[in-house]
């Protein structure tokens, strides 16, 4: 009787161990991405964008266009589905995602740390921080390398602010700041030899460089990455978005999009 009892206990222990093991194993498995399943079932990726920010996104004559629109279509192609855009004001984009009205936000979206527990951000696909621009032959890699010279920037712009912050953080750096009415004027001052380097919005520089190939951008002054946002439970979709961005960066697709949209449709008047 005692032997039977011991065997029974052994069986119980083994069964428990197996059950716990199975629970641990399957418990660690990623839950199904229902949003992605829905996207695939419907054949449609629903994307929210505030189409008032060319050249990233705009809506004209019933059609969406821009850098982000093309990026969203790349993501759709990666998933093998069509993309349906919703034009939503920027202050309602997150609400639309949270309520499940869309599957993703692609809208020149800055990363916001405070929101990052409520959704999943992709890797950055574009850095909007000011670019340090120098002559192509220059060996300068950062502001420290041109600190003895004069730096041009648009008055009051993010570039101006970044330069003044640098001056504040490097009080003995000797950097002189010359401000101009437009980013283009600051870049033109560089071309005219009036300043040793310029800080400019990446869009402005991309457009300007077409006619000024003898100048190059060497670094962004900081990080201001644009990201795609998907729902908190959409981990698999998030991974596919990341893969799409990484591939597009690696194979030059994003650079071609920049050339297409930033050169043909530069940010007007800024």
């Amino acid at each position: 009787m005692k032997k039977v009892l011991l065997i029974g206990l052994d069986l119980l222990a083994v069964t428990t161990l197996v059950a716990v093991g199975l629970l641990l194993y399957y418990g660690r498995q990623e839950p199904a991405d229902l949003a992605l399943a829905q996207v695939r079932a419907s054949g449609l990726l629903r994307v929210a964008t505030d189409a008032t920010y060319p050249p990233f996104e705009s809506y004209t004559d019933g059609a969406y266009s821009g850098y982000d629109i093309d990026l969203a279509k790349l993501i759709g192609a990666r998933l093998g589905v069509a993309v349906a855009f919703s034009n939503i004001p920027s202050d309602s984009l997150y609400q639309a995602l949270g309520e499940g009205k869309v599957d993703a936000i692609v809208s020149a979206l800055p990363f916001i740390y405070e929101r990052s527990n409520d959704l999943i951000y992709s890797r950055a696909y574009f850095n909007a921080a000011p670019l340090l621009v120098v002559p192509a032959a220059s060996t300068a890699r950062s502001l420290s390398d041109i600190a003895a010279g004069k730096l041009g920037a648009q008055l009051g712009s993010d570039s101006d602010e970044a330069a003044r912050r640098w001056q504040r953080d490097h009080p003995t750096g000797g950097l002189q700041l010359a401000t101009f009415d437009t980013p283009t004027a600051a870049l033109d001052a560089l071309a005219a030899g009036q300043v040793a380097a310029a800080l400019a919005d990446p869009l402005e520089f991309t457009a300007w460089q077409v006619a000024h190939p003898a100048y190059k951008a060497v670094a962004n002054l900081g990080e201001a990455g644009y990201v795609v946002a998907v729902g908190k439970q959409s981990r698999q979709l998030a991974r596919l978005v990341d893969e799409t961005i990484a591939n597009a960066q690696a194979d030059g697709t994003l650079a071609r999009l920049a050339a297409r949209w930033f050169v043909a449709t530069p940010n007007p008047g800024r």
């Binding site: 003044r164 008047g269 800024r270």
Partner: protein, 379 residues
Amino acid sequence: MQSPNHDRLRWLPGGAILLLLLGLFVQQAARSGSLVSSTPAPALVPTAAPLSQPRNPKVGVHTRLTDEADPQKISQTMQMVRAMGATWAVEYFPWLYIQQTDASHYDWAHPDLVVAAANAANVLLIARIDMVPAWARPPDSSLSRLDRDHYAAYADFVATFVARYRGQVHYYIIWNEPNVIWEWGGQRVDPSAYAALLKVVYPRVKAADPTATILMAGLAPTLEPPDSPVAMRDTSYLTAVYQAGGGPYFDALAVHAYGLTTPADDPSGPDKLNFARVEQIRAVMVANGDQRKPVFVTEGGWNDSPRWVNAVSPPERIRSTIAAYERANRDWPWCLSVSLWAFRLPKPAYTYMDHYTFVAPDFVPRPIYFEVQKAEASP
């Protein structure tokens, strides 16, 4: 990408909740006075040092300290306001924060800090008082809902506020933009009801401090048609307040003057929304015999967000801001101050609103701060 860290971060919500609860406890303890001594009223901040003579005595800003709890940051804000060349600051003091639970309990900790900081920096404070506590409005109603049966409660509160800060604060704005539905409790706007509110509040304030200046609320600049369900044209609203007998119950007028896409010197016109909208408002005052009352611009300015259709370029914003201060000083003797929105936000809004500010959340001045400072320092 966030997902790879997800498993490691699973404990964080629990930790965050604990921290939140701790924070709430500290906040409530502070509000209830157990951590922060809030009574009796603090001694008057010495103001023996006279205001240094600014080049333009009308330069001001709207600070945004409501959600700024750190005393050091409150103090630093006011010091930086003064260092920019401004001698005026508008700040709002939500009724619901100070008298949160009922009519007999007050939490003066935060307003004490703000008032003391302004006085220490030699900045003249204009206090806007609105936002109704839950106990003084219907359940689930808007924070801006104040029914007539609670006008007296609001007046009690304002009078208590005025008495507490007598000698430290001299200017009070009664409500905010009552000509738009979302600032009038979600109800159709009603100039006669606002006039009635002024009639209740004014004598109570004067009894508390006869030297206090009562400003009628700044109206939202708008050209809404007469049948609009959401707002009333600012000039029409002001006319209606006079018609309802509200004129004797304010000493001055607060005006909101946003330049939008026009420069500071853009001429005024009855159907134009620009910085000179203040002249249209002033014309209504004159037409109603109130030409001797001053005007205070308590909100206004320009925005330089590249993403907002009503914004201008950064250099245009700087030029218009400096020109606006100058225009008020040169051309508008009846306008005593121009307080532009907004000096600094406690944290980034991540919207176009960030592009109204003079100072970043980390207290680093934006270029516009230095340019205004330079302009105000020049002879």
